[in-house]
Amino acid sequence: MWQILALALKEFLALVRDKRSRFVLIGPPIAQLLVFGYAATFDLNHVSVAVYNEDPGAASRALIGHIAGSPHFDLVARITHDAEIAPLVDQRRVLLVLHLGPHFSSDLAAGRGTRLQAILDGRNSNTATLALGYLRSILTDFNRQWAKDHGGPAPPAVLQMRAWYNASLVSRWFIIPGIVGLLTLVVTLVVTALSVAREREAGTFDQLLVTPLRPVQILVGKALPGMVIGTLEASLIILLAVAWFDIPLRGSLGALYAGLLLFLLSAVGIGLMISAIAVTQQQAVLGAFLFLVPAVILSGFATPIANMPPLVQQLTLIDPLRYFLVVVRGVFLEGDGFGLLLDQYWPMALIGLCALSLAGWLFRHRMY
């Protein structure tokens, strides 16, 4: 027991005393949290809109007023010719052009119904879809109001939408808890991936293997510092998420930290596995990077797993980040406790145990 602790302490000191590793642990994660926290957003604010209104009536002005008054849209240009549409859209000066024909108000007044033409820049398909959605809901409200004011029939049924957990649908509430998982994974993986590779490169790993320490003890000693640093790093980011970004933390901290420990177990296991395979530190860093990029893309961090094809969805089952993101988001936003998260806990534990055993086996069987 003491032997393991001594090894863990030595690992920890080796990490903290190195100026470069210290920098990697603190500088980039905080900078990334701040930049990504603000930059990584799917929310649409101030979509630039151009209006081409050929109608002299009051109804068209009222509708344009509704749209310009919405926080989602900014009216940036009024145009008077068809030919002006293409340059504005092409150059991305506006995302949306609204065209109201010359008979807009008179058709509306005559009860004939009229059309609002919308031209969207589809180069960013997500933005275009969202903008169209906002436009539709503004128009639905406008139509209801119009029918009410002009004695038209009310629609037989209406939708009353309510979003659970994130009532105003702020995408930052989704992204920032994701960053907690992402940065914790990056830091833990790099730290542990380097631990054995560094000794291999320096030639001290062979010495470690001939000490009275058993391979299992070496494994535990190497894994502990990663777990400690991962826990500290995650706590710091969770603190910033709550204190700086005001993300609600509704569930039980115990459930969050139980998930975190299991997640770290799997991250440390994979890191040690990479470290055991790598011959040099450079290979270890690259190996970590090669694992990280697909792991992040497949985790549901930015794009939902449910949208992936079935085969790729099955591939995500071996990605520990996938489970931890559900835990973090569940505890932060949905107020989950242990009960609802059990299905996320055991796969992480399983991945961790498999990776650690494989790493331990590789310690003994891969020699240079």
């Binding site: 470069r20 930059a39 799917f42 169209l132 939408m161 893309i297 609802l340």
Partner: protein
């Protein structure tokens, strides 16, 4: 160029190319990672939802509710499941088995017949705000379609004062793959040009072989050129491969001209190489070079370039920062050339920006490399 210089350069290029091919880590970054990224973004990742699991709660079934349920079953966006009571549906929503609930209370049919805005209560899981927005949009679509059919069947067609008639330019079906795959070219070239170059050249500094090369008759220009040419070729090869796969495998339209695409690609590659070279000269250490390259070039190319996240929606200070990211200009060119075509007013300003950045990096490299070597 004198014959001697040409021969020395050829030797350098040959040595450098062999070094790339014999090092497993450079093969991993130059060949494996681009292919993994391409397949993940081409096949795996999508922002287009389909088969969203929703729970339907119908407290008193009749003809009207049945037609609404049928409308949900027909929609390709939804995979409905019926629940006996709202409590059970809400439990399923809390357990993440479904992403939304559509609830028709027992007075739905009565209020429908009375013509008075019968409420359809909808709950969506808002954790993933973007998907929740999209889900709400699809729900509205189903509701509106049903409403029109219902009104027409009841004998008094629905009078909708203003209808939207929308046209989406450049990506009419709003397929997210068409938007993601072109930007991937910039990511892959950043990987090769900046990350790989920074690490490999930093290794020469670290091991002292750079100094050894300095005492040979090679001129500093020849050393730098000899180092950069193989990576330039590798990067352009990566680009050609990505473009070919995008067009033939993932059916992304390429509406602009190929020469313009490769011209801007070559310019971006030079900028990326300049960044990689500068990072390696400043850090002179593989580990630090790798970390800096990831934080300064790779991650910004992913997040701050408009590749996934819309720059226009970022806060103003972050939008200013994006102007320092070369990938931003290249992603704009790529998305335009692939989807919209040759639009000089988009391509030329972005090319000029890349040219300016390339000039700045070349000047910096020239100064740093010179000072350190003498």
């Amino acid at each position: 160029m004198s014959p001697g210089s040409r021969m020395r350069l050829r030797g350098m290029v040959r040595k450098e190319s062999l070094q790339i091919l014999r090092d497993p880590s450079s093969i991993a970054i130059a060949f494996v990672l681009p292919v993994v990224l391409l397949f993940l973004f081409g096949y795996g990742v999508s922002l287009d939802a389909r088969d969203i699991p929703v729970g339907l709660v119908v407290e008193q079934p009749d003809a009207a509710t049945q037609s609404l349920v049928a409308a949900f079953r027909r929609s390709r966006y939804f995979r409905p499941r019926t629940f006996g009571s709202i409590q059970r549906a809400e439990r399923a929503l809390a357990a993440r088995q479904i992403d939304g609930i559509v609830w028709l209370r027992n007075d739905f049919a009565r209020r429908l017949l009375a013509g008075g805005e019968a409420p359809i209560a909808v709950r969506v899981n808002g954790v993933d705000a973007n998907q929740a927005h999209l889900t709400e949009g699809y729900l509205q679509g189903v509701w509106l379609g049903w409403l029109q059919r219902y009104a027409a069947a009841a004998g008094h067609p629905l009078a909708i004062p203003v209808r939207i008639e929308h046209r989406v330019w450049f990506n009419a079906a709003l397929i997210s793959r068409f938007f993601l795959v072109p930007g991937l070219v910039a990511i892959i070239m950043t990987l090769i040009g900046s990350l790989l170059t920074a690490m490999v050249i930093a290794r020469e500094w670290e091991r002292g072989t750079m100094e050894a090369m300095m005492v040979t008759p090679l001129h500093i220009r020849e050393v730098l050129a000899g180092k950069l040419i193989p990576y330039f070729v590798l990067g352009m090869g990566g680009m050609a491969f990505t473009v070919a796969l995008a067009v033939w495998q993932f059916d992304v339209p390429l509406r602009g001209s190929l020469w313009l695409l490769f011209l801007s690609g070559a310019l971006f590659m030079l900028v990326a190489l300049g960044m990689g070279l500068l990072i390696s000269i400043v850090s002179r250490n593989q580990f630090v070079a790798g970390q800096i390259a990831i934080v300064v070039t790779f991650l910004p190319a992913f997040i701050l370039s408009g590749f996934i996240f819309d720059i226009g929606s970022m806060p103003a200070p972050i939008q200013l920062i994006t102007h320092l990211v070369p990938a931003r200009y290249f992603v704009a060119i790529l998305q335009t050339l692939f989807l919209a075509g040759d639009l000089p007013r988009v391509v030329i300003p972005n090319l000029l920006a890349l040219l300016v950045m390339g000039g700045i990096f070349a000047a910096l490299v020239r100064r740093k490399a010179h000072k350190r070597l003498e």
